[in-house]
Each structure stands twice: as C-alpha cells, then as structure tokens.
C-alpha cells in the first residue's frame, strides 16, 4: 500500500473491520452519502449500503442511545460525533448508560460501541470545534479511552477498538487527518490497543503526550538536540486504562518528566500522570512532573489558538523549567 494520511488510514481500518464482521455498523451525522465532514467514512455507504452506514437524525443523545440498543441486539456500532464540542448532548447516554451497562448487568450485557471523536484544535475553526474532552471520559469507569496520533496507529487502533467488547471512546486528532503520511504494512502485528509506547528514545527528560501533540513533541525533541538535550517521547495512546509502564521506566532513568496535551491543564490527563508517576518514582525524580497544556480558559477565537495550544516553544520552555529544579 502506498503512503496514506491518517484520514485514509482510518477509512481503510473501518473498511477492513466492516469486511471482517458484518455486525459492524456506522452511525452518525452525514456519515453516509457525504462520507462525514472529514470524509473518514468516504465510500463506505456506497459499498456497504444504507443498512450498515446509517445517516442519523441530528441528535447526539439519540445516536448514542440507539447505538446502545443496536449493541444490545448484537451489533458493533461505530458512532461518529461530528466534532468534539458536540459530544455533550450525548454525555448522559455515554456516562450513565454506555459506561455502566456491563457493571450493572454483572457482565451479562456487553456494549462493544466505539465512539469516534475528531478532537483538538489547530484547524482555525469557530467555537466548539476544537475541544479536548478526554479527561471527562477517562474519569468515567466503564469507558476505555484511546487516542491515535499517526496513520499506522489509526489503521490498527480503530480495528482493535471495534473488536474490543468494551465501549471505547476513540479520539482522532483532527488537525493530523491530512498531515504526515505513512506506509501501512497490512501484515504487521500491531501493539495491543491499551498500551503506550516510546516513540523516540532519549536520556535527559521524558516527554509524555498523545494524539495531536505527539508530532509537536517529536519536533521539540528534534529541536532540543541542537541544545544538547536528549528527550524521550512517550505516546500514551491509551488514556484509560493508562499504561504508565514505559513512562515510569523512562522517568527512573531521566529523573524528569513533562506531560503535554491540548486539553486544559487543570484536571487534564497531565494531573493524573503527574500524581501516579510521582508516587511510583518519588526517589528518582530530580524535578516535579511538569505540565504544559491548553490554558484554563474556554477555547479562544481561532486567531489566538496558536497561543492557547502548546507549541514546540512552549513545550521546550517547560522542558527547560524541569531543569531549574
């Protein structure tokens, strides 16, 4: 296969999953004829029909609620939420119903529902189109939450999420949809879904991130070479459960950890990573775990988003700060 974007990789992953299991159905606004506003489901209704790729009425609670019902009937619905900011009308169905059904029924009812959410900013959009809602889901037991960061992961992770018997919130970094391409090796054996991975080796400091910020983190690591600083970058991939093994192993070596994400810093994933890593590596840390992220303001107007989102400079500034302790 030639090199593909994240958008195409996700499309290919969905197609493969649909071919493999005819219980896989897609639901969401504009996912059919239009192929979704980001074209992630492009061509799938044409090839799999209206029964398997369903254009939904404009009501997110209704979409997730009916997906739950379909799952109870044995289907494996993959729901597209059009933009991060529009998942909230479905929040009740996700948090009180989807997340709890396995528990309430003592495992008798399984809900293998995937909720795909294009998330994060950086595309110059109007309000509600650039949110990072991951912490709200990761704080909810019963949900699994993953974020892909590149085409190869996108291709495999979406298939793994669909195959998982638990509800999975599947976060797609929308500003990377049409970014760096990568080659897909269809015969590869992917890492298990709920694992994190070191995407760049380094010695001096551990930079932990996920989704859209992985690219920024890698660029920061590259830039830091010039300053003689060696940054190890971990892509968390799974936000719940959190696989902190690689982070802890790295922190024990480097003694310094920085967590970066687009989400608001306050009660973002960085807080949890900081708390756990500090507990596990208390005697190894040379500095507190530092966080860099979106400010604790609503997402600003697009012309200020480059100030709101942590960029290479702000990440490196935080890395520098980790060396002031």
């Amino acid at each position: 296969m030639s090199k593909v974007t994240l958008a195409k990789a996700l499309n290919a992953g969905l197609r493969t999953a649909m071919e493999a299991d005819d219980k896989v159905v897609l639901m969401g606004e504009d996912v059919g004829r239009l192929g979704g506003v980001f074209r992630i489901t492009d061509g799938l209704q044409k090839d799999f029909g209206e029964r398997r790729v369903m254009d939904s009425p404009l009501a997110e609670s209704g979409i997730v609620g009916t997906a739950i019902g379909m799952a109870m009937r044995g289907y494996r619905p993959v729901v597209e939420i059009q933009f991060d900011g529009f998942v909230y009308p479905a929040y009740d169905q996700i948090v009180t119903q989807l997340a709890k059904m396995s528990y309430r029924s003592q495992g008798k009812v399984r809900l293998p529902v995937v909720i795909r959410i294009p998330f994060g900013g950086g595309i110059g959009a109007v309000e509600h189109h650039s949110e990072s809602p991951e912490a709200q889901f990761a704080h909810t037991p019963g949900l699994k939450v993953v974020a892909c960061s590149n085409p190869v992961d996108g291709y495999w992770m979406i298939q793994q999420a669909i195959a998982c018997d638990d509800p999975v919130i599947f976060l797609e970094p929308k500003r990377q949809y049409h970014g760096d391409k990568a080659e897909l090796d269809l015969d590869a054996t992917p890492d298990p879904l709920f694992t994190s991975t070191v995407v760049r080796r380094g010695e001096d400091v551990t930079l932990v991130t996920y989704g859209p910020m992985v690219r920024t983190a890698l660029a920061a690591a590259e830039a830091a070479v010039a300053d003689g600083r060696s940054i190890e970058v971990v892509d968390l991939r799974s936000l719940s459960p959190l696989d902190l093994g690689p982070v802890i192993a790295s922190a024990r070596r480097t003694g310094r950890v920085v967590v970066a994400h687009e989400a608001h810093v306050n009660l973002g994933l960085g807080a949890e990573v900081a708390a756990r890593v500090t507990e596990e590596c208390f005697y190894s840390l040379e500095a507190p775990v530092l966080r860099v992220g979106g400010f604790d303001t609503p997402y600003p107007a697009a012309r200020n988003e480059h100030h709101f989102l942590p960029d290479l400079d702000r990440v490196l500034d935080t890395v520098d700060r980790a060396f002031t302790f």
Binding site: V25, T66, Q97, Q106, P141
Partner: protein, 383 residues
C-alpha cells in the same frame, strides 16, 4: 386563527373521563370499541386476573419488606396493575421489553421470578437478572434513557430481518416503558424522531399515572400525551389504563403492527399512581385524598373480578386458591429477600469491563490486601 388545535377537548376540560379505549367499565361491564376488540376467552381473563392479584401482592410484600428495613426503597405499582399486565400479555416472548423501575407486573408476566427484582431495592445489586433470559431489560433509573435503547434494539431487529415476515412466532419488536414525567425528557422525544425515521418496530408504552413524584401531569403537558405521536409520524392511542382487556388489546394491536413492519405506536395508558412515588415519598404534601378516593373506585382488579363473577367464570374456590397462591408468593418473597446474600466486597471490582483493566485489577488486589489486614476472611472467601 384556525391553526390552534392544541387546546384540551371540551370533554376533558369539563372534568369528564378522557376519551380513551375502554372495553371493561369500572363496574365490570364489557363495552365495545370501533377499533379495538378483545378476542380472548375467559381463561385468558382469568390469567389476567391472577397476574394482577399476584402483582399487587408482590407490591404489598415489597412495601412491607421496606417498612421492615429489608429493602432500602421500593417503587410501588399499586393501581397500575391493569396497565402492566395488559402490556405484558400484549407482547410475545420474542419481543424485548425495556422497563423503567416500576414494571414489576410486566416482569411477572415475562416469567421473571419477582424475588429477582428485590436485589436492586435491597442494595445488593443493580439488577439481578439476565436480560436475555426473558427478553426483559434491566430497570432504568435515569428517566427516559431506555426509550432510545428500545428504539435502537428495534432498528437492530429490522436489520436482522425479523420484521414483516408474517410469522408471528418469529417476527419481533420492542416495548419501551416510561412514565408521564419522562415524556418531557429530550431522550424520549428524540426516540420518537429515531423511531419514525427508521420506521422501527418499537411500541412506546407510557403509563400516565398522573404524577411524576409531586409534579402533576399538567406540569409536563397541556395536551393529552398521545397527541405527540402523530406529530412525529406514527399513531398514538389513549387507553383506559385500569382496564386490562383494553391495555391488552391495544398493546397486542400495536406490537402486531410493529412486527408486521408498519412502524412504531405510542400507547398512553391513562391510570393513577395510588401509592406514594416510592416508599420515601410523602404524597400528602402535594395531593388530595379526594383524588385518590375517586381513582380507588376505578380499581383495575375489582372490575375484572366483577366481570368474571358476572359470567360465572370464577367461583369462591378459585378466589381462595388464588389467595393461597398469593400467600405462598409472599412467603417466598420474604424468604428470598432475607436470604439474599450481601455482595462480597471484592465483587465491587467485577465486570467494570468485559476485558479486564489492569488498573481495576490492581485496585482489587490492593483492597484485598487491605481487608486481609483486618482478617476479614469473608472478604477473601466469597469470590
């Protein structure tokens, strides 16, 4: 303006009976209706009668168990027996039922051991039965959420080709139960949209028992609830919810229609919550005894008995045998309730996920070790 068609009918404003499908009057007289007919025999009516008596007994026993501290809370069905027993029998076994938290009568008809209902109210589980066993879902506490599940499940039935074949033992539908209060929730209203758009084989069965805790039906709607259905594109019908022949006939017609692939129906069962909202509620704070008395005269059980008696379809022996059966059920319930084991502490960590999470497992282990400190052997042994 001629557009206004939303005003209450003169009939209703005058305080008369609302215009509904009735096949059996409060006095136990059979009456006919143009569109709905009861085609069962006396045996079936006797079954209805029996189930209503047993449902009421379940309710009475559970209420008493709560008073004795054996249950944390109980949601009574008193007065709603006809609505529930009619709805239960109106479905077929392959139909999937999505209850709210008060459908003890429907559960009984579906063959669920009433004792299984108690766990939730005793606090030992969140619903102790397997939904697949009797095609009867778990109780849903978040008002209205289940109406969307019922619609989605029905969409799945259509996708499975289980609609419209004409084979009544094969074709299936769903029934979504909810209350008058629930009719205001966005989820319930969205379920009408989805049901209509996908022509889903779902029957919306609303028990309008006139109250949502302390809120009277007027707080939710200025119009009869069943008016909403045609607005969304499917039929709505109001039925005397205290007339089991009528609730049965209307439910049977609606489920037949759904199974035949003709889409959803909304049934408003017009009834009354004779008891408190739950055992923790005090209805004297917000409603008058006179209302309750008026409804007591429309008791759903009394009228069936009167009807059966008038046809000599039951005799004193039947009534006495049923009473004994109810007594047995009561004793069974009391025993089941008291014998229900408390959950093991570590069971708290079970089934959070279908595929175990290392985080939850670590917490389970940590807590097991913590409990072991106190030498709580129970904690270890029970898993």
């Amino acid at each position: 303006m001629t557009i206004l068609t939303g005003a209450p009918t003169a009939h209703e404003s005058a305080g008369c009976e609302p215009d509904y499908v009735q096949l059996l009057t409060p006095e136990g007289q059979r009456v006919e209706h143009d569109d709905y007919h009861f085609d069962g025999d006396d045996d079936l009516v006797r079954t209805f009668y029996r189930d209503m008596v047993l449902a009421r007994r379940v309710d009475t026993e559970a209420t008493a168990l709560q008073r004795h501290g054996e249950l944390g809370i109980w949601a009574q069905l008193l007065g709603q027996e006809a609505a529930q027993i009619g709805a239960g029998h109106g479905s077929r076994p392959q139909d999937f039922i999505f209850p709210t938290y008060r459908e003890h009568g429907v559960a009984l008809v579906r063959g669920l051991d009433p004792g299984r209902l108690l766990g939730l109210f005793r606090g030992v589980d969140h619903g102790g039965w397997d939904p697949a066993e009797h095609n009867f879902g778990l109780y849903t506490v978040v008002i209205g959420a289940q109406t969307l599940h019922a619609t989605g499940y029905a969409m799945g039935l259509t996708a499975d080709g289980l609609v419209g074949s004409g084979d009544v033992t094969r074709d299936a539908c769903t029934i979504a139960h909810f209350g008058d209060g629930a009719s205001s929730q966005g989820d319930v209203l969205e379920s009408f949209v989805f049901a209509a758009t996908y022509d889903a084989p779902v029957v919306f069965f609303c028990q309008n028992n006139q109250w949502a805790i302390s809120a009277p039906i007027e707080r939710q709607s200025r119009t009869p609830l069943h008016w909403r259905a045609p607005a969304f594109g499917f039929p709505g019908v109001r039925v005397d919810g205290n007339d089991v022949l009528a609730t049965y006939a209307v439910t049977r017609a609606a489920t037949d229609r759904a199974r035949a692939g003709e889409g959803p129906t909304f049934i408003e069962a017009y009834t009354y919550r004779m008891g408190a909202h739950t055992t923790t509620d005090d209805p004297t704070r917000y409603r008058s005894g006179a209302d309750v008395d008026a409804w007591r005269r429309k008791d759903p059980i009394a009228r069936v008995l009167a009807y059966l008696r008038s046809r000599d379809a039951v005799d004193d022996a039947f009534v006495a045998a049923l009473e004994a059966e109810a007594d047995d059920l009561g004793a069974h319930l009391r025993r089941q309730c008291r014998e229900m084991p408390d959950p093991s502490p570590l069971a708290m960590f079970d089934h959070v996920y279908a595929e175990a999470s290392p985080e939850v497992e670590a917490q389970r282990e940590g807590y097991a070790a913590y409990l072991a400190q106190f030498d709580l052997t129970g904690a270890e042994g029970e898993r």
